[in-house]
Symmetry: C2
Amino acid sequence: MSLATDAADKPTLYKRIRADIEKRILTGEWPPGHRIPFEHELVARYGCSRMTVNKALSELAQADLIERRRRAGSFVRRPQHQSAVLKIADIRAEITALGRGYGYELISRKLRAATAADRERLGVKKAGKVVSIACRHSADNVPFAVEDRLIDLASVPNAATADFSREPPGSWLLHHVPWTEAEHTISAIVADDRTAEALDIAVGAPCLVIDRYTWRSARTITAVRLLYPGDSHRLVARFKGG
Amino acid sequence: MSLATDAADKPTLYKRIRADIEKRILTGEWPPGHRIPFEHELVARYGCSRMTVNKALSELAQADLIERRRRAGSFVRRPQHQSAVLKIADIRAEITALGRGYGYELISRKLRAATAADRERLGVKKAGKVVSIACRHSADNVPFAVEDRLIDLASVPNAATADFSREPPGSWLLHHVPWTEAEHTISAIVADDRTAEALDIAVGAPCLVIDRYTWRSARTITAVRLLYPGDSHRLVARFKGG
DNA sequence: TACGATTATATGTCTAGACATATAAGTCAA
DNA sequence: TTGACTTATATGTCTAGACATATAATCGTA
């Protein structure tokens, strides 16, 4: 029988079933489109109840490894190369995680009625007030990134009185705004005069640009543009698991 | 009772429980760290069995929205701003999705014993054979990206005989290699002479660089570097759900 | 042959229990 | 006060059933 052949750390049964199937998919033994055994077959093979194999298969389905179709069975999905998880850390956390000294400097902070450009950038229609912030992050006193941010006060009223001279707006928002969705756009530019000076790099040096729009259930919260020296900063995105 | 008050499309009970909790987290009513009701409390509230609420909570845990701790309860996790889903499409699919004409051109293909540099790039120790490919993708006859790829023949032996003069190696691999993991590193550079010529842009223009390493259960499959004109190409990463 | 109705079946959801297990919290002794 | 021991409890896993439901396959009819 297949019980307890390698039960060194004794994983639970449904996890073993899940791992067994995952392995066959990973090795290519069961290629995309392959129909994996029916629940009742797995029940027979593992000698357990249907709920147990159902739990294993449900998790595989939730992780997009298999697709389940009523009456037809469960099928291996084709790999989705295009989907990767990108970890864009809070800058302060990122720098301290690297064991380097974090520095922050507020360059400007303005409270104003939203201009047409502001409204377009935030994707809102109604007029309202915004806070515009420019600041700089540094690691061991070397410029790390410059930030240009707009906060919609209609969504985050107490940002009007927050003290951004000490706390970076990203960290402040992280701790004061509950749950958010965000969209990041990544591109590359070359440094103009102002950027080059702020980042202490040469004019014409490559910069990585992250534009991030954050909202909560259709309410825009903030729009931010981050500029990093392109030759020293890298973003890592990992596909599926790990 | 709470049954069927808005059962327009009649979602199942466990899904309704999950949605209810998700909503409270999203709105901030239950902030990060908040302990959500115990299973037995939800059982009482919804008048169902524990397995049903357990299924709802398990899925929320699998989606990283909550954290479950034995004896302590289940807690709302803090939003992970840094985690975003980046969709890096197959280039051909991306271009055709834009409604533009896809063009592909093989620049060079070499089969050789892995050099020390190849081995380092692939992250393998043993000597073996590799295929080195350079090619160019274009949209409506305008250069879209240049690709520089290395395939480990120890992992993908039939890549030795694949015809990459017609089919891009990315598409070929997608259809011939079962399931993979990948890591993407995104950075910015300025175009050197060779890159500028290949992409038909000016020397010194910004380029977005994607380095992708693909493997399957610790076996390296391929390493690829993609160079895009930085001012025209953008990567979009969306955070959590949607 | 084409189409509509029927049937068989695999998954979807749910129950009312059970025992296992990690651990927060309380208890007691050094 | 501190550390070791005990206990209570919430989650983790599992069972042996049940009925619901979507749909592939079959059958019958035009």
